[in-house]
């Protein structure tokens, strides 16, 4: 098995708010191996983005540990965090918001080179910026432009170039295609895959788009209300979901084929995701689960193996999904 680049162990991230303590992440363990893409999928409020932020220590863990490249970074000081943020880079959803509108594209990409003292001298930096622009498929003359002069897809390429600048061990991609047009989404996904093949990059790919996560990932994890409820290979998750939530999520994804859409039976979940301030006791999904049984209110299920590499946190894993689909 290849080297673990980053790992979370029983991570909790709680935020105090006026309405009470929001348990955004509440007991998440995962490992990301060198050269792979781990996909993290979930709906809003599932805690997937907070999990990504924790890997850069952009949020402080309430409990649990964060390990990057073998080191426990959970309590690292501000100074040490500078090193961490070179090892772990991030690409955000909205490239418009993550780029400084006053800086030229070249200056934005050069910024991490300066902060981390990676390249000395303006001429060498300029060469490195050109190289990075080329890697993400942008012309060198765009270095003198400002973000507003670029299209959404071009801005996201700049975001990726910035993330590549420090040659990080891990890149956290938080909804990197969500605000892009369809034709541009495919370009960015292909670019990310090509860069990974060429440079041996490691990704945590966070998205609500199940088909995109399936396409991008070597392994994937499904989050619900601050927990991972299922993990496995994309094929396992897609073809044989073991957790009722995963099955419902998959059945809700529309397919661009009118014939398939007419014939399919959707598992429509009732109600909304409960408040992370006061998650249900026992299994967190039981209030919306079409197969909930009395036991589910008493036991908080742990992630247990259902097949090699495939785990689900459900007392009736597999069985519940079969019953839902037969219903």
């Amino acid at each position: 098995m290849s080297e673990v680049v980053a790992a979370l162990d029983d991570l909790a991230v709680w935020f105090p708010t006026a309405a009470g303590v929001v348990r955004a992440v509440d007991g998440v363990s995962l490992q990301i191996r060198r050269g792979e893409t781990l996909g993290l999928v979930g709906e809003s409020g599932s805690g997937k983005s907070t999990t990504g932020l924790a890997l850069l220590r952009l949020v402080d863990p309430t409990a649990g540990t964060v390990r990057v490249a073998g080191e426990d970074v959970t309590r690292w000081s501000r100074r040490q965090l500078r090193t961490l943020r070179r090892r772990v880079a991030m690409v955000f959803q909205d490239p418009q918001a993550s780029l400084d509108p006053r800086l030229t594209i070249g200056a934005s990409i050069a910024e991490p080179l300066i902060v981390h003292r990676l390249v000395d001298g303006a001429a060498a930096r300029r060469r490195r910026v050109d190289e990075l622009l080329d890697m993400v498929g942008l012309r060198g003359d765009l270095a003198d432009r400002h973000p507003h002069e670029l299209s959404g897809g071009q801005r996201q390429r700049v975001g990726i170039a910035r993330a590549l600048a420090g040659e990080p061990d891990l890149i956290v991609l938080d909804e990197p295609i969500a605000s892009l047009d369809l034709s541009v989404q495919a370009q960015i996904m292909n670019l990310l895959r090509r860069l990974q093949r060429d440079l041996g990059l490691t990704y945590l790919f966070i998205a609500h788009d199940l088909a995109a996560v399936e396409h991008m990932s070597d392994r994937m994890a499904v989050m619900y209300l601050g927990r991972i409820v299922e993990s496995g290979t994309p094929t396992q998750i897609w073809q044989a979901p073991a957790h009722p939530y995963t099955a419902a999520l998959l059945s809700a994804v529309p397919v661009a084929d009118p014939q398939v859409e007419r014939d399919r039976r959707r598992i429509i979940l009732s109600g909304d995701i409960p408040s992370p301030v006061d998650p249900p006791g026992g299994c967190r999904f039981r209030t919306r689960c079409p197969q909930a049984r009395p036991e589910c209110a008493e036991t908080d299920p742990v992630l247990a193996e259902v097949a090699p590499e495939h785990r689900a946190a459900c007392l009736f894993a597999g069985e519940a999904v079969r019953a839902m689909r037969a219903a």
Binding site: S151, L182, A186, L269
Partner: protein, 326 residues
């Protein structure tokens, strides 16, 4: 059956500081009772603008031409007050962000029936019970109590249900749904899609659904129009357009989405980005990005919409041509 709303040669030009932007150019479509027309396209394709212009909601800086028929009335040239009354009586709207349609300081009950009170002349008591009825119709649990709650007390999906209730209050003949599920989670999207389909079956409402999501289109549409740079590039019955996509752009859009059933190959992409409405190419607007790229004619001449099968039309000189990259 006669269309509820039909546009012919609809053109919208918007005056901007950088010159006139042609947002919509010579668009024809119609939607009949009980039917769903999906307008699909990327941002800037003119899909929303064509509908806003057809219903008289285009911005003041827009110049609208063409013919617009709402039921039996020709809307172009009608005084604004008449148009407004017809719109209020016959058309309901649901937009992407429910908070743009809801007033945060009024109870949802009051908002749901506000328009109905004006257009149907309901008494206060009748209005309240109508509000409860409508909230119940769109699946809001304990509608009798929730009628007095404020928008912030609802989740995103529930707010969109309130907006749908509001849109249905006057029993409209036509519902305009502009990206109504784009901001929602996929399980909530499934709930809303199901709700609209169910209401449509029960009430016979015609629906124009604007979206960029081809999966949603496949599930809801009877007919579909694919728009690009202000023009319809392909339109027809949903089975024809998805089963035999005849424009290179439609084929490329369908291929650009990852398909879990397919292998691990890279996705088919469309190079570049859509053109600016301020600076459209002289011939086919898709030509610079087209994988077929016929010849000089594509570059200099706008291809006409030509029929490929019953009700199925495509705007290309090369229907059914194989993409060169295949």
């Amino acid at each position: 059956m006669k269309p509820v709303l039909a546009v012919e040669d609809l053109t919208v030009t918007i005056d901007t500081r950088r010159g006139p932007a042609r947002a919509v150019a010579g668009v024809d479509w119609a939607v009949r009772p009980g039917e769903t027309l999906a307008l699909v396209g990327e941002s800037g394709s003119g899909k929303s603008m064509s509908v806003l212009a057809a219903t008289g909601l285009a911005p003041r800086t827009a110049r609208v031409s063409g013919r617009i028929h709402l039921l039996d009335t020709e809307l172009t040239g009608l005084p604004e007050q008449r148009r407004r009354r017809l719109r209020g009586r016959h058309v309901g709207f649901v937009f992407q962000d429910p908070m743009t349609s809801l007033n945060p300081v009024l109870t949802v009950g009051r908002q749901v029936v506000e328009a109905a009170q004006e257009h149907l002349g309901l008494t206060r008591r009748a209005a309240r019970s109508r509000a409860v009825e409508l909230l119940d119709l769109v699946g809001i649990p304990s509608a009798g109590q929730r009628v007095d709650a404020y928008p912030h007390q609802f989740s995103g999906g529930m707010r969109q249900r309130v907006v749908i209730a509001m849109a249905l209050a006057c029993e409209p003949d036509l519902l305009i749904a502009d990206e109504p599920t784009t901001a929602l989670d996929v399980t909530t999207q499934a709930q809303i899609v199901e709700l609209v389909a169910d209401l449509q079956r029960r009430l016979g409402t015609a629906v124009v659904w604007i979206t960029h999501d081809l999966g949603v289109v496949a599930g809801i549409a009877d007919t579909v129009a694919v728009m690009y740079a202000g023009r319809i590039l392909e339109q027809g019955p949903v089975d024809a357009v998805f089963g035999a996509p005849s424009h290179p752009y439609t084929r490329a859009l369908l291929a650009a989405r990852p398909d879990p059933a397919a292998g691990d190959a890279d996705l088919v992409t469309i190079a570049g980005a859509p053109p600016s409405p301020l600076d459209l190419p002289p011939g086919c607007a898709f030509w610079p990005r087209c994988p077929v790229r016929g010849d000089a004619r594509c570059e200099h001449e706008m291809p006409p919409l030509v029929p490929v099968s019953a009700g199925h039309q495509v705007r290309t000189f090369y229907p059914q041509a194989t993409d060169r990259r295949d």
